[in-house]
Amino acid sequence: MTDALKFQAKNISRVFGHGKKSVTAVDNVTFEIRDREIISLVGQSGCGKTVLAKMLLRLETPTSGELLFNGKPITATGDPRNHWRQVQAVFQDPFSCFNQFFTIRSQLKSSFRLFETKPSPGEIEERVDQALLAVNIKPKEVEGKYPFELSGGQMQRMLLARIFILKPQVLIADEPTSMVDACSRASILDYLLKLKEELSMTIVFVTHDIGLAYYISDSLYIMHKGKMVDRGAPDDVIKHPTSDVTKQLLEDIPDVHRQWIARGTPVHAAE
Amino acid sequence: MLRKNPTLRHILGRAAWYFVTFLVAVTVNFFLPRLGDANPIDAILAKTNAGDSAGAREKEEAYLRQFGLAEVDAQGKVIRTADGKPVRTGLGKQFVSYLGLTLQGDLGTSFLQFPKPVSEIIKDALPWTLCLQLPTIIFGWLVGNLLGALAAYKRGVFDRIIYPLALLVSAVPAFCVGILMVYYFGIKLEWFPAVGGYDAGTTPALSSDFLSSAAYYYVMPFLSIFMIVVGGQSIGMRSMVIYELGTDYVKYAKLLGIKENKILLYTFRNAMLPQLTGLALALGAMVGGALITEIIFSYPGLGMAILTAIQGNDYPVITGCTLLITVCVLVANFSVDILVGLLDPRIRAAQAAESN
């Protein structure tokens, strides 16, 4: 089953606006995502990676091209909820991901509304506890707490706990590390790996940091101005980048073992 | 040329928008009074018909023609049915003829002061209203913004006095300030004339007698509107300046060691621009409030003209005045719109992006 394709995108594009004002966010992109694989969409801000992720989530529709999920068009099931049972997401800003008027726990519990057969109340409580423990949070710690009472790292883990409850086939992780302190990024990535290992999940990891992508993924897609400019297994992409964009991205990472920047280099305007 | 100049294109776009708004206002002006149960024209016609004298008949004929209420023949005579009732034109046709006349500047004839044209009544009243409201609102806006900025910047005692005071003044309805002034300064203390626009002994002319008496009568209505505008504007400006003082660019300017008063100018200017937009939006309300002030002081402007017209069911005068006020407010809005675009680079950039 490992070679089965989860997603297949054939020449998909997404254009916003129309006429002279139109902006092409995703430009004629073709790719596939295999089962039980972590793929990373890497690129600078504004490269179209988030729009692409939203299309996989069925929150945006491609303006042209074909997007298949499990071999069928993504819109084949009329009710998008069928899609969301199988494809879920965590977002960039954990603080804006929760509704500040409800407790964390009640918001986690609302995930169960996606279930076709809703478990009993007792089972719901139990499964929430399990999910919290899976992301290393003692259920007591957050009992009765509201989102603003937790730290950014904790909130990001709450989002992941939600995924442990829903157990979707595919997880779209849109920049889940960019709003957390540098030293807690690693733990977020570890949970993603855990989801893949323990729940056989397929994960789409969206990031601007090729280093993080390299660490976690089974294949890399490099995007630039709406186009896919490079792709392949991480080691191939890193060692033999075929596009200048990838080379530049690699070059720009402040690696401790390599000469990264030198005093006295000429300055060019950064446009 | 239009392609090259986004500002000009923006101005033309706004002008077109305001013209559409004007047409809507004209439509509203025509249809609203005809919605109700008491169509004033019918009421007036009933009154004139009651006499059934030759004079009344003639007057009725004039009304019907004037307002396009009845079908007329080639000679301009009203066509009548066998029992002498005029053949009424449809509402749509009436509207078309009303629209045509309005765009030509013909607002019809007054019922009460027949056959005086509405435009003449307005011509007498308008200068009073303009002279009272224009300087008051502009001057009050400036002073209000200055006080608000000072309150926000100085905080402390200054703020603790100005702010609640402004809050009180702005909450007091315009007519209450007017009533208080008429009662205390006009009647009890007799410092100023309580009502009217000029001495009964003088007639409107460019004589020094008339002008000095007009100035004397001007003081109280001016002050009463002025206070309200100052109060409202200073509250808005205060919160805008407080907001600006907390922005990143102010923090950065402080870190650069830029002088305090320079930074203040930054914040004042940037806080002023949204206030300008606020002025445009508030104009309608201000003009309305000021109309009531005119009535309190029996000031011979449009407010009094409307009041008299309402009391006498003088429907052409009512719609004429309301239309004129609407047009004034639209023109003022349009000017402020353009002015903000010219003064604020952020809005200019947004406009340029919009019209590309």
């Binding site: 929150l59 909820r81 969301w84 879920q88 977002f91 804006s96 991901c97 509704n99 008027f101 609302s110 995930s111 509304r113 | 305001y18 708004t21 809507v24 509203v28 002006n29 609203l32 009074p33 005809r34 109700g36 149960d37 008491a38 004033p40 609640p164 809050l167 009180l168 702005s170 909450a171 007091v172 309805p173 007519f175 209450c176 009533i179 008429v182 009662y183 009647i187 009890k188 509250i235 907001y243 939006l281 104009l283 309608g284 309300a285 003009v287 309305g288 409030g289 009531i292 009535i295 309190i296 409307i306 009041l307 309402i310 429907y315 009512i318 309301t322 006020i325 609407t326 407010v329 639209l330």
Partner: protein, 278 residues
Amino acid sequence: MQLVKGLFKIPAFLLGLFLFAATLALAFLGPLVFHVDVSTRVGDPYMAPSAAHWLGTDHLGVDMLSMLVMGLRASLYVGFLAGVVATIVGTLIGVYGGYKGGLLDDILTVLTNLFLVIPTLIVLILLSSSMDKGRSLTLIALIIGGTTWTWSARAVRAQSSSLRARDHVALARINGFSTLEIVLEQILPYLLSYIFMVFILQTATAILTEATISMLGLGPYDSISLGKILNDAKTNEALIGGKWWAFMPAMVLVTVIAFSLYVINTAMEGVFNPRLRK
């Protein structure tokens, strides 16, 4: 909750609340203390205040205090009804347009902007002058509410369209919430304090507006209102004649209501809304 507690520590808020409660008390508890009767002439026109008639009589010789209580009730009724109408219409249009976006939002925005620049008072004058006999208090309230909603719509729309882009809304969508549920659970709670403030302002504005059009002689035919008392005083020369009791108490009441509501609103804004503007 902490915010609400904080609110009750602000002196200005407490002052506003006290003043407003006092006017309510006068309107609804007053009749328990003194006799209210506005249909009987109890004395000569414009009798000065006395022990029997604490605020004297009006131009017809009716007890002024009774007139005030009834007028106050009418004004509060108009303010409340118009405030509710304007807030509901404005919130519906604002939330819907802001959250949904698209063509209908564009149309609603154009419509809102259009009626924002046409002076409300003018529309009110035109409407009221055409309804000579049918101008009941309720109708006036509905007309005021129906013409002033544009302010709330504009304000609410701006807020809800900024909320729409937030991640918890996207998360609720992929959680299977319906649009209605999203609006009710994800958008409205954030707007609630804001909508309440809008309602307070709309109420204050409606009370002032009613007073204004009553001053123009376009007041309700079926009721006394504070504006009508003022209009009567003005047309029957109480002002020129120095009969202060005929207009001063009504004026003070209008001012106190408006002032207390404004103060409550400003205090709430300071607590709930320090940066929401952005």
